[in-house]
């Protein structure tokens, strides 16, 4: 589904160079849901942005098959002066979806009601997150990239999101970043552990969680 071939990524900000990924080659298993675990700053989100294509690797290639979502949980692409509906229509157009069908779905799902006709800058962060999540669920992808998404909203909304999410699982794969191990256990089959020492692949989710918890205890 996604093949990473020899990719490297480093940032240098104000002369300080920080290597995030060093010549990583990895093929995401075709029919498995993959977790990305690691301490803060290990490069989980960067790897996800690379997979999405929102960022370019310094070296190497990323080969994608099928339609891959933007990193969900991200709501930075909203234009503050445009209304919720206008933002939804924009994303629907970009992905070539039927705009009105998507608007209806998001209206129903996000429960934002009349607020959808107001500019995004009037939204609370919770409202923005609901809109962002609704939008990504309305668009059909072969692979969903989820960056801590389920931390969004109140209990009721969380339940609703996870329910919608489970409906997607039979047809779509996911790549997930989360610090909640119960979520990782529920949704993922295998995963990568990212750490400053390197990247490891575990094909059993329990082994991954163990290794992650050990790593976190040590540090």
């Amino acid at each position: 589904m996604i093949d990473l071939v020899d990719i490297s990524k480093a940032y240098s900000i104000k002369g300080v160079r920080k290597t995030i990924l060093d010549r990583l080659t990895f093929s995401f298993p075709r029919d498995k849901n993959v977790a990305l675990l690691g301490p803060n700053g290990a490069g989980k989100s960067t790897l996800m942005r690379l997979i999405a294509g929102a960022e370019q690797p310094d070296n190497g290639r990323i080969i994608r098959h099928g339609r891959i979502s933007w990193p969900l949980g991200f709501s930075g692409g909203f234009n503050g002066s445009m209304t919720g509906i206008e933002n939804i229509r924009f994303v629907a157009r970009v992905y070539g979806e039927d705009t009105e069908a998507i608007v209806d779905y998001v209206r129903e799902f996000s429960e934002l009601g009349k607020s959808l006709n107001l500019p995004i800058k009037t939204y609370s962060s919770g409202m923005k997150a609901r809109l962002a999540f609704g939008m990504s669920m309305a668009t059909k992808f072969d692979c969903y990239l989820i960056d801590e998404i389920t931390a969004v909203g109140d209990e009721k909304f969380k339940k609703k999101s996870q329910a919608v999410f489970r409906e997607k699982l039979p047809h779509s794969r996911i790549v997930m970043i989360s610090h909640a191990m119960d979520q990782i256990r529920e949704f993922c089959d295998c995963g990568l552990l990212l750490s400053p020492q390197g990247v490891w692949y575990f094909d059993q989710i329990e082994k991954l969680v163990d290794a992650y918890q050990q790593l976190m205890r040590r540090s």
Binding site: Y11, R49, A52, G53, A54, E55, Q56, P57, D58, I68, W70, P71, F74, G76, G77, F78, N79, S81, M82, E86, F90, V91, R93, V94, Y95, G96
Partner: protein, 257 residues
């Protein structure tokens, strides 16, 4: 290949609608103002010169002569300035993977070109209706001149966008460098009537050729010996090439969060 092109046109279309909304605000009045402001500023300029009793440097109409020059120059300048900051203004959008940086560049350029086509169309129609000017003698040549100006502006704007990526102070230097354009592009005079020593210098300015091309298309007898279409197009193509190639080479530098 075709699917990729369809997808790209779809993305550019979505971006144009978004830009329109973001640039001109919620109301239709917003877009109206975008058209009225440049037209009004040209009208004021013409009024001042008319009151000062100046004769048109060419043809019967002072308004027409200035309008051809100022609108062409403004179209170019607008592209140059507005495309310079297009990548930083749309940075957040790049998190949607189907949107690539050239898309936001083309979308903004298209919107500016459409706006200026409308402004010029309305302004010159009004002049004709008010009997202040004749309709263009060679409409096709006017359109070619407009397109050539658009290409030059696109190349210049894209190049500016790359230059500020690698050298942020360029945004200030560019302002200083482009200030004299108003005087060296032939807005107020006919370049062919200038002394050859002066022409030898100002003919290096590609914007001058845009205006000359525009006037040659509008007037039936504007015989410019200065106009060199090939030079203008060469500069435009080189700048576009530099801008797009530079965009690709500096993309990873800009996308870092």
């Amino acid at each position: 290949m075709q699917a990729a092109l369809t997808a790209q046109f779809r993305v550019i279309g979505a971006l144009i609608l978004r830009e329109t909304r973001a640039t001109f605000g919620t109301s239709q009045i917003g877009y109206l103002w975008a058209i009225i402001t440049p037209a009004a500023s040209t009208a004021v300029l013409v009024a001042i010169f008319s009151v000062a009793g100046r004769h048109p440097p060419f043809g019967p109409s002072l308004a027409l002569f200035f309008a051809l020059g100022t609108f062409t120059l403004e179209f170019f300048t607008k592209l140059g300035n507005s495309l310079m900051v297009v990548f930083e203004a749309n940075k957040a959008l790049l998190s949607y993977p189907p949107i690539k940086e050239p898309d936001v560049l083309f979308a903004r350029a298209t919107l500016i070109a459409a706006t200026y086509a409308l402004i010029m169309g309305i302004f010159f129609s009004c002049l004709t209706i008010l009997d202040l000017a004749e309709p263009p003698a060679f409409p096709a040549a006017v359109m070619e001149a407009f397109a050539a100006t658009g290409l030059l502006g696109l190349g210049y704007g894209a190049t500016n966008a790359i230059l500020i990526t690698v050298f942020d102070s360029w945004r200030h230097i560019e302002k200083v460098l482009s200030r004299p354009l108003m005087f060296i592009s032939g807005v107020f005079y006919v370049p062919s009537y200038m002394p050859p020593q002066v022409v030898a210098w100002i003919e290096w300015n590609p914007v001058l050729h845009c205006i000359e091309w525009m006037r040659s298309g509008y007037y039936s007898n504007y015989d410019s010996y200065v106009l060199h279409r090939g030079y203008l197009l060469t500069v435009a193509v080189c700048l576009i090439f530099f801008g797009l190639a530079g965009e690709r080479l500096t993309r990873s530098r800009r996308t870092r969060s």
